[in-house]
């Protein structure tokens, strides 16, 4: 396959090449919607079946960290959009700056996710034989606020009264929590890899107003991953916060 500048030989024009790449990414994103869709469906059915357990599981998540991450991710979408815009108007330096900013924000998101996962591990909330949704309420550490722990215990009592099998059903919630956020994090990691590749190209001055397809389609991908989180955040963190 020969190549003239940025134009591959099987295309007639750069516009045709760009149109193909963008359409290809859109179609790929459609497959991603269906891919995550299977998990969203599974979530919906199980939440409908076990509302109490899903509420109890959701309330164990750290709202502050989740909220912070949501802001970080939305910011990263903004910087990504700015990178695409900078490439289109030919501001080569800005492209690099915004791409690096996006990468940094993405990494912050993943770092916070690690902290959250670690917390769940400490609280015995990893699905498996050691899973115990009451563990944290019954084994508070010195840093925990005793008032909050008492509240947590009371909530769990009520939940167990409604659903005696709460522990098993909460485990389903956490299977989905780790499945969905894990798959999302995997997409973030792939996205970070793509950003590193883009930053390399941008340092080499590859992206111009005539040719910026890679920045544009990685941008599409990044926004998609962001949107998945916009759905995950309320479904996983916010479903039972009304009292």
């Amino acid at each position: 396959m020969h190549r003239t500048g940025e134009l591959y030989g099987h295309f007639e024009t750069l516009e045709q090449q760009k149109e193909s790449a963008a359409l290809g990414m859109w179609i790929f994103l459609v497959t991603e919607v269906l891919f995550f869709g299977g998990l969203f469906l599974t979530y919906t059915i199980n939440r409908h079946a076990y509302p109490t357990a899903f509420g109890a599981g959701s309330n164990t998540l750290d709202l502050a960290l989740g909220g912070f991450n949501t802001v970080v991710l939305i910011m990263s979408s903004l910087t990504m959009a700015m990178a695409v815009w900078s490439a289109e108007v030919g501001k080569k330096q800005l492209v690099s700056i915004f791409l690096i900013a996006t990468l940094v924000l993405g990494t912050v998101f993943l770092g916070v996710k690690v902290i959250e996962y670690k917390q769940k591990f400490d609280h015995h909330l990893i699905p498996g034989s050691g899973f115990d949704i009451r563990y944290h309420a019954e084994h508070p550490t010195a840093t925990d606020n005793p008032g909050k722990i008492a509240e947590e215990r009371e909530e769990l009592e009520k939940a167990f009264a409604k659903d005696p099998d709460l522990n098993a059903h909460a485990q389903l919630y956490f299977s989905l929590y780790f499945g969905m956020t894990g798959l999302h994090a995997l997409h973030m990691i792939v996205g970070a890899g793509l950003l590193v590749w883009l930053i390399k190209g941008s340092f080499a001055g590859r992206y111009t107003p005539q040719y910026n397809t890679p920045v544009e389609i990685v941008g599409l991908y990044w926004h998609f991953v962001d949107i998945v989180w916009i759905y995950l955040f309320p479904l996983l963190y916010l479903i039972d916060r009304h009292h």
Partner: protein
Amino acid sequence: MSATPNSNGGEQKLPSEHYLNATYGIRSWLLTTDHKRIALLYLASVTFFFFIGGIFATLIRIHLLTPAGYLVTPETYNKLFTMHGVAMIFFFLIPSIPAVLGNFLIPIMIGAKDLAFPKINLLSWYIYLIGGSFVLYSFATGGLDTGWTFYTPLSSIYSNSAVTPAVIGIFINGFSSILTGLNFLVTVHTMRAPGMTWFRLPLFVWAHYATSLIMILGTPVIAITILLVALERLAHIGIFDPAAGGDPILFQHLFWFYSHPAVYIMILPAMGVISEIIPTFARKPIFGYSFIAGSSIAIAVIGFLVWAHHMFVTGESTYAALTFSFLSYLVAIPSAVKVFNWTSTLYKGSISWDTPMIYALGFIGLFLIGGLTGLFLACLGLDIHIHDTYFVVAHFHYIMVGGAVMGYVGGLHFWWPKITGRLYPESLARIAAVTLFVGFNLTFFPQFILGYMGMPRRYHTYPPEFQVLNVLSTAGASILALGYLLPMIYLTWSMRYGKVAGPNPWPATGLEWTTASPPPTENFDVTPEVTWEPYDYNNRPDLGLGAGTPSPAPAHGDD
């Protein structure tokens, strides 16, 4: 042969440089981005899996020669039919026509130099190989006994066979299918030559467009589903485990959401092949072009709304079952539109009985039986009686083997001169086609009767009164095997020794026949410009086809 003017007009010579001899060496094949070479890589790999699946089928048929089971233990029998299904469906039928013929032909048919993403095309072949390796590993290290449907909780909890590597292999292989579908969709949208409007596209391309839609919309769902089964086995996440509050029926919904449309991934491309063959050998424009094109899309769309007809006996809501039954009947409409249009094309045509045509006519007959018995199964009351019997086995083999494989083999014959530049021996090929047809019917027609009389599928023994029909079926299978071996032998032979075909041996009207056989690496020396309507057999003086002139006879390898 006779004195009718031959489309070849005289001695033909192979072009001096073409895609097969442009570069040499193993690297030039393993790192190729040429869609035609990738098609041949796929041809070799799907043929390999067809052999694997065929060996399992042979063992099954030998085992069922006697009521008590002749050959293997019950456990091994479970593994045989499972591995037969997995190899044939995921690694032969689904990639067969799209990844071999579609890959080879779609860019040429629309006048492009290659698919839109040549590297991704090669990547999809490697993904196929990696997925296939996992599945072969599963076959070799204990096999697989869940049935190709992987129903939970058998697959997720109880099976002691090598389920995990198999589901990982199928998960990986799904991405090969997704990338092929994505590549085709983008190619059809952005790579068409000047003048190649949507309604001048060959129906083969329309069929693949519809197939690709199913590939990109359905395959991700089976991917995540089968991944959940793997996680269930590895980490006991509980999603499909009733003891943990999960729902095993959810698996069936998710599974069939892909696997029913997957039937259309197998049959739609075959319908595309038939739509090319019929007008060529009837020497007539195809009847109802836009209806055939639209019916492909209609089948793809309705196909997504019928999945729960596989689950009538799971205790799903009566209203849901009624709806799914009704929607399943609806699929018959676009399917019948195709059959009626093909037969109308034949009406008053100048029909020649060439090998591809024999396959095409065989396809129509077998698809008719397969399709109509599908209506039996879509019928709520009747399905309770014949669910999970050999009636179902016979029905889907009529669609998948009688339909999809006949289309595939017929298509291979039709485009073999284009792919290799050479003709196969025609009389031998006709004998093979008839052998296949006879062997197929003898194998599977008795199974309709067996099923209707109540023989359940997937059992390793049966009552003695079913023996005659089972022996007939096994006898048919041996004829069928001969019918497959013959083309494998003479097609391979013809690659080297066949008579040189020339660019357009039949002749046919598609763009692929305007370039050399085999085509050059970039398909056309100059980007073609399309100024004619599709299948215009009455009005192509450039091919010697016009009203009033006698049609040129097709060229044959043994003329």
